[in-house]
Structure formats: C-alpha cells, structure tokens
Amino acid sequence: VYSYIIRRVLTGILTFLLVGIIAFTLMRLTPGDPAHFFVSERATEAQIEQVRERLGLDRTPVEQFGIWFSGVLRGDLGQSMYMGNRPVTTLFFRRALVSIPLILLGTFFSVILAIPIGVISALKRKIKKNSIVDKVLTFFVLFGISMPDFWFGLLLIFFISVGLGWFPAQGYVRPTENIIEAFRHLALPAIALGYPRAALIARMVRSRMLEVLSLDYIRTARSKGIREMSVIIKHALKNTMIEVLSTIQITIVSIIGGIVVIETVFNLPGFGRLIVDSIGRRDYPVIQGSLLIVGMGIVILSLLTDILYGVFDPRIKYD
C-alpha cells in the first residue's frame, strides 16, 4: 500500500504542475487586462503600460510563469494585486475557514439524508412494487436533483429566514466569536448544498441496494436467521459502500464547485467567492494560487477515497 501511496503522491505532484500551468495559461488567454482596473476609462496607453510594469505584466508569459511558479515551490503564492497586496495564502486560508466547514456540513447533511432515504426506498420497493413510501421518496429525490442550488438557497432564505426568522439570511460569524451563531449561519447554505446532492446519493444507494438485496448471499443470510436489520446494514449496505464512497467523493468535488454560487447567495466570505471576485477583477495571483490549492485538495481527497476502498472491500489490492 505504501508504494501505491508514493506512486499517487508522484502523480499528485505532476497534477500540481499541470494545474499550475493550466491556471496560469487560462488566465492569460482570458480577455481583460488587470491594468485597466487601475486607470480611468480615458487612460492613455502610456499610463496603462506604467501600471502593467508595476504589476509585472510587461514581462513575457514564460518569465511571469517562472517567477510565479518558483515562488510557489518556495511556498509563496504571491500577493493580491488589490486588497492591500495581502498574500494569497493569507487571503485563501482565511476564506477556507468559512468554506471548509461549509463543505463538510453540506457533505454530512447530504450523506445523513441520502443513505436512509436510499435504503428505505429500496426496501419498500423490494416489498411492494408501487409502494407509496417509495414513490414519495423517489419524488423527494427527483425534486432535489432537478432543483438548482441557487434557487433552492433563495427559497430557503425567503421562507426560513425572512418568513420564519429561524436562521440568518446571510453573512457569517467566526466560530471563535460564537460557535452557535457560526453554525446557524452555515446551516441553510449547507442544506442548500446538501439536499440536491443527497438526492443523487440516495438514488445511487437505492439502485445499488436493490441490486444487492437480490443477491444469493443476502437470501443465505436471511435463511440463517440473521436479524433483518443486521442483514441490511452489515451485509447489504456495506456492499453498496464502494459505489457510495465514489459518489460521496464526486459529491464533495461538486460541493466545492457549488459553494461558488451558494457563498454568493448567502453572502459567505469563503474561497469560492474569493475566486469568483478575483476572476472578475483579473487578480491573477489570487486566481492561480487558489486554483492550485483547490486542485491539490481534490487530489488528496481522491487519494483518501482510494485508500478507504480497501477498508470497505478487503479484496481490493493496491499493487
């Protein structure tokens, strides 16, 4: 398993380099010159050139990449062109303290919701073809899949925050200030992120459970007189976990993509909004640095998922 991890780490380093090149190149190919944000609409070419020089944009792209990436290798992702020239790492990790709890809560919510729904739906379907419970749960799932995050988020704000006043409509409180308030501010965004993805996982669990419940070893387990709950959880559900695990991994990646919108809707100062705002202003160092960190996060997540496969299925070998 260690050699497998080393191989994956080496692949990760290659991915790191590729993400860096892609992030850098894409930003340079995108129209919109950051220098224009520092001058008035009627600035002369000379003034624009002066700003480009100040920002280091007068160098060739290869030189710019060399300077940036050598900094990255030393752990320096550069400084924002705006925001008082703050270091990208400071900006990103401050925002990550908002986004990571949100990602975890959203994932937790989706898994907690999805697995019981998927299992119950499958069991009911197994017992009776047109079960009402199965139909209701299937509707719940389809509704979630069809609902865009931002729309669901706005509905939550409108009904739960403005209408009932149960949760704040927007904003964020740091856990160090007030942990309960911090949770209250993240609850609705986590639901908005989690529910549509819960629907997807539930659908996966349901179909996989239906498949597993028809297998011979389940019948054998039942004929041995093992308790039904034990059959479902220990024998059936565990065997669906490989697929579910893959789906959860995809869900986390999808949530990372989703927070870009949800952080805007709920006005959360997370790294999703940092990236979007920086793209709008063409703040190259922040965009490149943030994409690099997020890319690496996903590589690590993928590695952890692969290792977890072995926990759920001992037949999986890493050679």
Partner: protein, 526 residues
C-alpha cells in the same frame, strides 16, 4: 372671575410655550441627529483598496477615512475641506492653497504641507486622474500650512479638479508616501491610522467587512453639508460595511433586519420593499447615465450621416421604459458629464426628435453597405434590456447589428481596441460639472474616444481659463452643442439609484445618493 380667567390664560400660555419649546427642541434634535449606535451598510461591491489615488469605487466609504483639499457642494462649486482657502495669481499660472490648522491623522500626528506635497508627488506619478493636472509643472510647501502649485499654462479650475474624491488627491502621511512610492499602499498601512477623516478604519477584511469607528478628534469644515462638501458629523459610533453581491440576498438581509441600508435596489423590487412598513425607499435625484458610444474613428460610424441616423432612430423614453417603473428612470439626453439641470428637458426636445423616416433616409444617403455593426456591452440586466431595445431600433432602419456581450473586464478591454467595435453601451455615474475634465481627455493624443475639432477646443479652453461663471456656462453650452453635432455619443437617460433603508435610519436624502455615493457622514440611527 377675572383672576381665574387670567390664571387659565397664563397656564395656557405657559403650556403653549413649553409645548412649542418641546416641539422646537424635538425639531432641532431631529434635524441635528442623535449620536450613538451602529449602522450596517451593504452594497454589491467589496472594498478592494483604500487608496483614493487609484481607487474610484465606493469613494464615500473611503472618504470617511481619507480626505482631499476641496469638495463640491450642491451647486457644484469647489468648497474648502483640508484646504480652507486658495488664491490664483492674476495670470492663473500660480495657485496657493492654505491648509486647515489643527488637523491630525488618526495616529495623532499633525497634518502639514509636507504631507500634501508628498501625496501630490505620488499622485502625479500613479494617480488615476493625474493627467488632469498635466498643466502643473512644480509644487512646493511654503510653510507648514501653505502649498503652492506652478503651472505651465493658465488654469481656472484647479480647485474644482481637486474636488473629485475618487482617483483624486487624498492626503496621506508623508512617511507613508515615502514608504510606498508609486506602489500600492499595503493592507497594514490602511489600518495604521493614516487618515484624517471623521471615522477611523478599525477593521478591514477585503470582500468581507470594513468597520469604521468615530474619530473623536476630528477637525473639519463647519459650514452646512452639501454633496461632498461641508461639515461631516460622525453621529454613529460605528459604521459596518458588508458587501452583498446578490441583489435578492441584499433585499432579504434588509427585510430580515440584518442590515440598515442597502444599495442598489433593483427597480423590480421597489414595490416589494415599499410593502414592508419597516422599510423606506429613497430614490436619487440624479442617476446612472445610460448612453451609447459610436466609434467615430474606425468602421461604419466614421460616416457622420450614419451617426445622425442612429440618433434619429432612438426613442429614449421607449428604451428606458424597460428599466421598470417610471420613477426608476428619467429621460436625460444631456452629456454624462453635466449635472446642470437647466439643460435636461431643453436638450431632450432639441436633440432627440425621433424620426424613423429621417433615420432610414440618412442610412440610404450614407455610404453604409450592409456591413455588420458590432455593438459591444458588458452583460447585466439593465445593459441587456436597453441594448436589446437599441439593436431592434437600429435593425428597423436597416442596419445589420450584432450584439456582443461579455463580462465587464472583457468589455472594458475591448473598448480600447478601436477595430473591435462600432457601438459600445456605456453607463456611469454622473460626473460633476467636469466638462473641462472629461472634455480635456478628448484633446489628448491617443484617446480612443476623441474627435478633434478646432471650435470645440476653443470653447474647451474658455472653460479652463475663465473665472466668470456665466462665461463658463456659455462655453459649456457650446461644447455640448458641438458634441451633439458630432453625434459620437447617444445619451439616453438616467437610471435612478434606489436605496433601501430600515425606518430607524435618519438623515439620508435623495440628493445624498447622487453620483452613486451615499453620504453617511451626517446619517444617524434612532
């Protein structure tokens, strides 16, 4: 009996006097405001810098901390601020500004002429609007509270040119200017008490929050506030700024009582907010100017007949009606850079006689041969709606128009590429009477928008060299006339700024949200 009547009369008179006094004092209280409390303000944009030399967005928040020498009042006349007075030599070649005494930076060090000179040094090197001061050849501190500027040609409007806050001359400490040179001012320096304004910056997390606290030692002008100028009473203990980009979230935050003031309110949500008894809506007197630029330097619109055809094809009222209820917009076809209200209606009648037949005739008479007309615009709801109306109007007169939408950055860059567009949709805050500012750029070589005209430059020079207001207005009038005749810009109207406030917010008037700024200096909460 008489004694009793007298007693009743006396009691009545005393009661009336007391009541009158109470009402008067309440009135005064209401007018003067109450000290204390916190106000939370949400706009759509984050504060990305407090460097007023280069930053032009959210200037009203930056001005709470950093200040300039002069500001405009409601008559659009430059009034004293950090400078208390000024004088020009007879030949308008030397300007002397006298600085307010007793002003301190938030860290307690006094502001002197050396700080102004150091700030002007940096501003001239990297300021967004430094080019407006190209006549200024040298400058020096005469004593601790006097600075002098030496020009290379006469200039009548130097105090006015100092009066615009965004991208203008804000005064920072000399040590800071020496430290940063032409580079960006760093994050820590903004929080180091480097301003002179009525509020100090206590906390700033870009894109997240900015917290301003009342400066108890503030020394500023004492005359009545109007537009940017005048006294700045810091009634509030604290102002918290939180950017909320999404309009629906912004409105929900106000409805839920999480913020006190929001801007902008989309016109579609106007009625919804009005239905809430705890919310008040304030609509500005002057709004965001909606206009289109025709490219007179390259492409089909080098033909003046075709430019005239566009003007004749446009019906401003019809175009603006897509922006929502009538109160959310107003036809205003004066150039963007005037707030001289006397022109508004007059110019609409004189220069917008919509006439489709004339437009079609002009297209036929022009050299236009069915080439594609590229209309570039930055996509957002307002721009999309109005632009679609223009595309339809131009297609109706036989032009082959293609709309090209992009994000703001791309559109902004495209505007500099003269071979990439024929029409550009633009919008922007109304600029104070800076025909001289904006127009001066037209005379600069390399300006992508410029059309040079000897008569225009004559009147432009007149605005720069006369100290007589009537003569100045006459020159401006002539410049506007020539701009219309040039037909390179099609001004449509104003989209009003709409601000939503909680009902406990006081002291915010429609004029205070002119030119896209909200003046929080004299606002208080009950």
């Amino acid at each position: 009996m008489r004694t009793k009547r007298n007693l009743i009369l006396t009691v009545f008179l005393i009661s009336a006097l007391l009541l009158g006094g109470a009402i008067t004092s309440l009135g005064v209280m209401a007018e003067e405001g109450q000290y204390g409390g916190t106000l939370t303000f949400a706009d759509q944009e984050p504060i990305v810098s407090f460097d007023l030399h280069s930053e032009m967005r959210l200037e009203e928040l930056l001005m709470l901390v950093y200040e300039g020498l002069t500001y405009y009042d409601e008559e659009f006349v430059a009034r004293p601020h950090l400078a208390t007075d000024w004088e020009a030599s007879d030949d308008l070649m030397t300007w002397t500004f006298y600085l307010r005494e007793g002003v301190e930076f938030h860290d307690g060090t006094p502001m002197t002429a050396d700080d102004v000179i150091a700030s002007f040094d940096r501003f001239m090197e990297m300021g967004s609007r430094a080019w407006e001061f190209e006549r200024v050849e040298s400058w020096e501190a005469i004593d601790d509270h006097t600075v002098r500027f030496y020009l290379n040609e006469p200039w009548a409007v130097m105090p006015e040119s100092f009066a615009l806050p965004g991208g203008g001359l804000a005064v920072y400490p000399e040590w800071l200017m020496d430290e940063v040179g032409t580079g960006e001012i760093g994050y820590d320096n903004f929080l180091a008490g480097t301003g002179t304004g009525p509020y100090t910056l206590e906390e700033w997390e870009p894109g997240e929050v900015a917290r301003f606290v009342r400066n108890e030692n503030y020394v500023g002008p004492e005359y009545e506030a109007g537009l940017h100028a005048g006294e700045r009473k810091a009634y509030l203990d604290e102002i918290i700024y939180r950017p909320i980009e999404d309009p629906a979230t912004r409105i929900s935050a106000l409805l839920a009582g999480e913020v006190d003031v929001i801007r902008p309110v989309p016109s579609d949500d106007l009625e919804r907010l009005r239905q809430d008894e705890n919310i008040e809506v304030v609509i500005s007197e002057i709004g965001e100017r909606v206009y289109f630029k025709l490219n007179p330097n390259e492409g089909v619109f080098t033909d003046p007949l075709l430019r005239k055809a566009v003007r004749a094809a446009v019906n401003p009222e019809e175009m603006l009606s897509v922006l929502g209820p009538d109160e959310a917009w107003r036809v205003n076809t004066t150039p963007r850079y005037t707030v001289f209200q006397q022109y508004w209606d007059d110019y609409t009648d004189r220069y917008f006689p919509m006439n489709v037949e004339l437009a079609e005739y002009l297209v036929e008479e022009s050299d236009y041969d069915g080439e594609e007309v590229r209309l570039v615009y930055a996509s957002d709801t307002t721009d999309d709606r109005v632009t679609i109306m223009l595309i339809e109007a131009l297609q109706d007169i036989g032009l082959n128009v293609r709309g090209i939408s992009s994000d703001h950055s791309t559109w902004f860059e495209t505007k500099f590429e003269l071979d990439q567009w024929d029409i550009s949709h633009s919008s922007g805050g109304p600029e104070v009477p800076v025909a001289y500012l904006d127009a001066s750029s037209r005379t600069r070589a390399g300006d992508p928008w410029s059309w040079r005209d000897a008569e225009f430059e004559y009147w432009f020079n007149e605005t720069q060299t006369t100290l007589d207001h009537e003569e100045y207005l006459n020159a401006v009038d002539n410049m506007f006339r020539l701009m219309y005749e040039g037909n390179s810009e099609i001004w449509i109207g104003d989209e009003m700024y709409i601000v939503g406030t909680a009902d406990h917010v006081r002291g915010l008037t429609p004029f205070d949200i002119t030119s896209k700024t909200i003046f929080l200096r004299n606002v208080w909460v009950e």
